[in-house]
């Protein structure tokens, strides 16, 4: 009996001991779980990665903006981060990204390369859902919103000379019976190049003295056109582009050998800037060596002693874009371009 009683007492102690053991182990397991969850939570709340990502990304964006050959406007937003939670600034060519209200010690930095030929404006950005990057002429702006609109070309100022110019619009060679209606490059289903360019010259609401090489759609030889154009101060020749399907641009050709090359460039620049404001065209000024052109090349109208621009508008092989062309819009861009060149008020 005594022995048995001792045995029970022993078992009770062991059971109590065992219960304490299990309890302590459960407490330890709970402590581990809490520690793990707390660690995971701190990782979740940690914005280190986002700050590193944003500082690098914005720095790379600055490098890309400077790398662009032309003016460029970029609306920047991060798909996986809320930009308004962070502040952005630039100091000593570092992009500095920090959480709002946090000490600068928590900020992340990344270096970018500026271009000292550009003026740079990158103020402190504190509440941006998106960041605007704008490179316009010789200035780079970074801000929550940019007031400036992009202009595609910086038009070098020139003295136009004659303030009352005689402008001749050349709508091309006109309807040539030698061309078939299905001839690609000149005719689409609905638009014939010669008719289209004639319409543009007809709706031109000029605020200056002007004439056209042909008033309606009939064929006119290059010789006849050149004899009309020889009386002009300013020549604007209008064509439709004829390129591979994807291309859709307004190209302004000027003579590289012209005595009035700079004036022609400035006029082309003003006209193209007006195109860029109204349409979604790519624009380009292209110099051509007229003396090396064939006898029937339309760019022969770029006479060396005139301010002369040949415009190729759109691409007749790009049906979607050609159907969107608006003769009134095109005529307005040309008209405004000429007026801007002569700084005439509307």
């Amino acid at each position: 009996m005594k022995k048995r009683g001792r045995l029970v007492l022993n078992r009770k102690a062991e059971i109590t001991n065992e219960i304490y053991n299990v309890l302590i182990q459960i407490i330890i397991i709970i402590m581990i779980l809490v520690a793990c969850m707390s660690y995971l939570n701190s990782v979740k709340k940690n914005t280190l990665f986002e700050k590193m990502y944003l500082s690098r990304d914005v720095a790379l964006m600055m490098n890309t903006i400077y790398a662009a050959p032309e003016n460029v406007k970029v609306e920047y937003f991060a798909a996986n981060a809320n930009l308004s939670d962070y502040t952005f600034e630039s100091k000593d060519y570092y992009v500095i990204v920090n959480e709002k209200g946090k000490d600068i010690a928590h900020a992340k930095y990344y270096k970018y390369a500026t271009d000292l030929t550009f003026e740079e404006d990158f103020p402190l950005i504190t509440n941006a859902d998106l960041i605007m990057f704008l490179k316009n002429n010789n200035k780079v702006q970074v801000d929550e919103e940019t007031p400036d609109t992009i202009s595609d070309f910086f038009c070098s100022p020139v003295i136009p000379g004659n303030n009352d110019p005689y402008v001749i619009i050349d709508p091309g060679h006109g309807d040539n019976p030698l061309f078939d209606l299905g001839d690609p490059g000149y005719v689409t289903d609905d638009i014939q190049e010669s008719t289209f360019t004639t319409q543009i010259s007809e709706v031109l609401n000029a605020g200056f003295d002007y004439d056209v090489t042909r008033p309606s759609d009939y064929y006119i030889t290059m010789f006849e056109r050149l004899s009309v154009l020889s009386r002009a101060d300013v020549i604007i020749s209008i064509h439709l582009g004829n390129y591979s399907e994807q291309e859709n641009a307004v190209k302004a050709f000027i003579s590289a050998e012209s005595e009035k090359k700079q004036e022609s460039i400035t006029l082309a620049c003003h006209i193209l800037n007006n195109f860029a404001k109204n349409s979604q065209f790519d624009v380009a000024i292209i110099p051509v060596v007229v003396s090396e052109l064939s006898n029937e090349d339309p760019k022969l109208v770029l006479l060396a002693d005139k301010v002369a621009v040949l415009l190729e508008i759109g691409n007749i092989n790009n049906k979607e874009s050609i159907e969107l062309l608006d003769v009134y819009e095109i005529a307005a861009a040309i008209n405004k371009g000429i007026k801007d060149y002569y700084e005439k008020d509307e």
Partner: protein, 192 residues
Amino acid sequence: MKLQLRLIKELRITMKRMNKKGNLVFNTLMWIFKIFFVVIVLFTLVFLIRSFISTELDIFNAEADIFIQRLFMSRNGISFYDENIGRLYPGVIDKNSFLLSNIEDRLNYSIYYGIENKRIAANITLMDSQGTIRSVIYNPDYYDRWKMLVKALWIRGPGGVRPKTKEFNVLIREEGSFKPGILKIEVIIPNS
């Protein structure tokens, strides 16, 4: 017989005492082991979680490519830029401009990382059918230092560098005519 019984009794008592002490030592050892085990589990968990969380951002390729594009596409880079019409000809290298003695200063001015550039260096070599026309070093101070480290690719973290080399077929413009050439750009960026 009595003596024997007493000895057995004393032996039992001693054994019992010994068992109690053994239990204590055993339990203590077990607890040390358990705590040690818990610490290992805790560290393993943290290590596992950390191994799945990567805060490393490798932008080496993007940075090197943008730098190369900037040399090519920027108005103040190495491609021919017609100031009259404001048009850049990417891939056309004007030989006279490339041979100018101040081209390194010009590049440093147009791709400016500050007075001391610890971010990027490059060697730009223009070649034609006759051989190398000229090598231009962008950021020569650090290029020479980092060039030595290029072979030490086992240095993966800070202190090491990574190179990227690209070759482009270009047109070399010389007195109005064009001839084919090759432009080799070797960019070296330190690990950050």
